[in-house]
Amino acid sequence: MQKKKWIFLALVLVIPGLMFSVSCQKKLVDASPEPMAKEEPKEEVVVKEEAPVAYKAPSIIMQEDIYFEFDKAMLTPAAQDNLLRKAEWLRENSDTTVTIEGHCDARGTNEYNLALGDRRAESAKAFLVDLGISASRLTTISYGEERPVCNQQNDECWAKNRRDNFVVN
C-alpha cells in the first residue's frame, strides 16, 4: 500500500515535469536566437540539486528574481531557465495569479527607468504566456528605480536591482 502511494506520487511529479521540459524546449530556442554571455552559472547548479525539494515547497521558485543587463529588457538565458521553472509551478498551481514587478538600477534616470521596468515585467509576462500560462493570471507593474533591494553604488548592487520580482497573490 505504502509502496503504491510512493509510485503514484512519483508519477504525478515526474511525468508532468518531463512533459514540460519537452514542450518548453522549442520555445526556449525561439526566444533567444542570439545566445548571450553566461550569467550566474551558480544558479543553475542550485537548480539541479534542489529540483526534488522544489516540489515540496514550490513557491521558492516564485520567490527568485530574474536579472537583466543594463538598459536591457531582453531575457538572459538564465532568466529564461528560471521562467521555465516558474511556468511549471504556475501550471501546477493554476488557481494562483502573479504580479510581475519590473525594477531598474539607479544609474539611469527615473522617467526612463519606469518605462524600462515596464518592459522588463512585460518581457517575463510574454515569455510565460508563450509557455501556456494564461495572460489573465499575470499582471505587471513597473517600479523603475524606486524600490531598490540594494542601496550601494557598485556593480554588484546595480546587478541585483535590475530585476523582475514575482509576487504570488
Binding site: D71, R107, G108, T109, N110, E111, Y112, L114, A115, L116, D118, R119, E122, T140, I141, S142, Y143, E146
Partner: protein, 446 residues
C-alpha cells in the same frame, strides 16, 4: 559719454545672460529694438548697491521689517546671477541721515566704490500695513531709472519686494524674470516620495500631496492652476491632474504606465507616456484626462515629452536606436528627428521657454551631467562637471536659470545655476532627498 557707455555695458551683459537674441535699447531715449546674436557666454556681473532702507517711525518692528526688506531685495536680485552685490560696510551712506531721492544723493559716493546701480528704499509701518518706496538709480548717469511705491499688509512684504525686483529685471533684460514663479519637486522627507513646492528662491517649501506612496514628475500648467503628476497611491503608476484651487483631482489610470506629464504651453492639454497598448508611447490628452491622439508610433520606449514654447513641437526620449536618446517631433506632420548623438544615455529633456535651447541629463563617464544644446541638437554645452550626479534640468520661466537635482553633497537636493552653468548653488535644505524639480511660469505679468 559715460551714460552711453554704461548703458551699452549693461545691455551687453544682459544680452549675454539671456542667450540668443535679446532686446537692445538704442542710445537715444526713444527705445529702439534690435536683436543681437551672442555666442560668447562671458559673464560680467553688474555692481549693485542696496543700502538699508530709511524708516520714518523708527520703531523696533518697523526697523526689523525695513532691514529684512532691504536684505530680501538684495538677495533676490543676487539670485538672478546678473549682479554683484556690494558690501554695505563700504558704503559712504547713512540711510537714516542721508536722503534717498535723486537730488539728495551724492552719486560720487557710489561710483567711487564701484556701484553702477543703486537701489534706495524707505519703509513706513502703519498698523498692519507697510508702505515701501523703492528707487533704482544709474549712478554714473546720476539719474533715477525706476521709482515705485507699494502699500500692503505686512504679510505682503515679499510680494512687494519681488514686484520691484521684476521691474528692475524687466528694465535690464526686457523680461520680468522669475520672481513670481514657484518650483515643484519631489521630496522623501515624510518617508514617502511626495510632491512639494517652494518659491523660486527656495522660500517656504510646503507639501502639496499626502499620498503616502510614491509620487513623481510634477508638471505645472502654463496658467499655474493645475499640477499634473504620477503617483502609486492606488497601487500602480497613475496620472493625477490636481486643480490647485479646488483640491479636486482628475485621474488617468489606464493599464500599465501613466507617467511623465507635460502641459502644452497655453492650453488645457498635456502629453504623457501611457503603456496600455503594451508599448510605452506618448499620447496627447485633454486636461480632463481624455486621449486626443497617440503621438508616437514606434515599438520601444517613448517617454519624457517636453514642448516647444509655441506648442508645435515636442522633444522626448526614445530608445528606438538602441539606447535612450533625445528626439524632436513635429506635432502636425509627425516628422521625427534625432537630436543627441554623443553618449549612450541622454534623457530628461526640458525645452527652454525661449525656445532656443533644450537642457537634458547625459551620462558622461558613468555620471549624469546637465548638458544644454540648441533646439536643432547643435552647440552642446556641458554645465555640470565632476560634482556627483546632476539630473532633471528645469528652465526658469525667463530661460535665465536652470534648476536641477544633484547628489554632490551626499543626498540628492535641488540646485540652481545660470543658463551658462555659473553660480551653482543649493536652493534649499530639507530632510530626505529632493529630485525632479519643475519650474512654474511667472505669475507676475508686469
Amino acid at each position: 559719454m559715460n551714460v552711453r557707455w554704461l548703458r551699452c555695458v549693461v545691455l551687453f551683459i544682459a544680452a549675454n545672460l539671456l542667450i540668443g537674441s535679446v532686446v537692445c535699447l538704442a542710445q537715444s531715449d526713444k527705445d529702439q529694438y534690435e536683436y543681437i546674436d551672442i555666442s560668447n557666454p562671458f559673464l560680467r556681473k553688474i555692481p549693485l548697491a542696496v543700502p538699508l532702507f530709511k524708516n520714518a517711525n523708527r520703531t523696533g518692528e518697523e526697523k526689523r521689517l525695513s532691514d529684512s526688506s532691504a536684505d530680501l531685495l538684495a538677495a533676490s536680485l543676487e539670485f538672478t546671477g546678473y549682479f554683484k552685490l556690494l558690501d554695505r560696510g563700504a558704503f559712504l551712506f547713512d540711510p537714516q541721515k542721508d536722503g534717498i531721492l535723486t537730488p539728495q544723493i551724492n552719486f560720487a559716493n557710489w561710483t567711487v566704490i564701484g556701484a553702477e546701480l543703486l537701489i534706495t528704499g524707505s519703509l513706513k509701518e502703519s498698523g498692519d500695513n507697510i508702505t515701501m518706496e523703492l528707487r533704482l538709480f544709474d549712478t554714473f548717469k546720476a539719474r533715477r531709472i525706476i521709482g515705485k511705491k507699494y502699500t500692503g499688509k505686512k504679510a505682503d512684504q515679499r510680494r512687494m519686494i519681488h514686484r520691484f525686483c521684476s521691474e528692475v529685471i524687466k528694465y535690464l533684460t526686457g523680461k520680468p524674470g522669475v520672481f513670481g514663479s514657484k518650483i515643484a519637486f519631489v521630496s522623501t522627507g515624510s518617508g514617502n516620495k511626495e510632491i512639494y513646492s517652494c518659491a523660486f528662491d527656495g522660500y517656504n517649501p510646503h507639501q502639496m500631496t499626502r499620498n503616502h506612496s510614491i509620487s513623481l514628475f510634477p508638471a505645472w500648467s502654463s496658467d499655474g492652476r493645475y499640477l499634473a503628476y504620477t503617483s502609486y497611491k492606488k497601487g500602480k503608476p497613475d496620472l493625477f491632474i490636481k486643480n490647485l484651487a479646488e483640491v479636486q483631482e482628475t485621474t488617468i489610470n489606464k493599464k500599465g504606465l501613466n507617467i511623465t506629464p507635460a502641459w502644452v504651453p497655453g492650453k488645457f492639454e498635456l502629453a504623457a507616456t501611457l503603456s496600455f497598448s503594451g508599448d510605452q508611447e506618448i499620447y496627447l490628452l485633454t486636461g480632463s484626462g481624455k486621449v486626443i491622439k497617440r503621438l508616437t508610433n514606434l515599438r520601444g520606449i517613448d517617454v519624457s515629452p517636453t514642448w516647444s514654447p509655441d506648442g508645435k513641437k515636442f522633444a522626448f526620449v526614445s530608445n528606438r536606436s538602441g539606447s535612450p536618446q533625445v528626439y524632436v517631433q513635429d506635432l502636425a506632420s509627425g516628422k521625427v528627428r534625432r537630436l543627441t548623438y554623443e553618449g549612450n544615455y541622454n534623457t530628461q529633456p526640458n525645452w527652454s521657454p525661449q525656445g532656443d535651447k533644450i537642457a537634458y541629463a547625459s551620462v558622461v563617464d558613468g555620471r549624469r551631467n546637465i548638458v544644454v544644446m540648441g533646439f536643432d541638437g547643435r552647440g552642446l554645452l556641458q554645465l555640470t562637471h565632476e560634482s556627483g550626479d546632476n539630473e532633471a534640468p528645469a528652465w526658469s520661466p525667463d530661460g535665465s536659470l536652470i534648476a536641477f537635482s544633484s547628489n554632490r553633497e551626499g543626498p540628492f537636493r535641488i540646485y540652481v545655476m545660470t543658463a551658462f552653468g555659473t553660480d551653482q548653488r543649493r536652493l534649499l535644505v530639507m530632510t530626505g532627498e529632493q529630485t525632479n524639480p519643475k519650474w512654474s511660469m511667472n505669475a507676475f505679468n508686469n
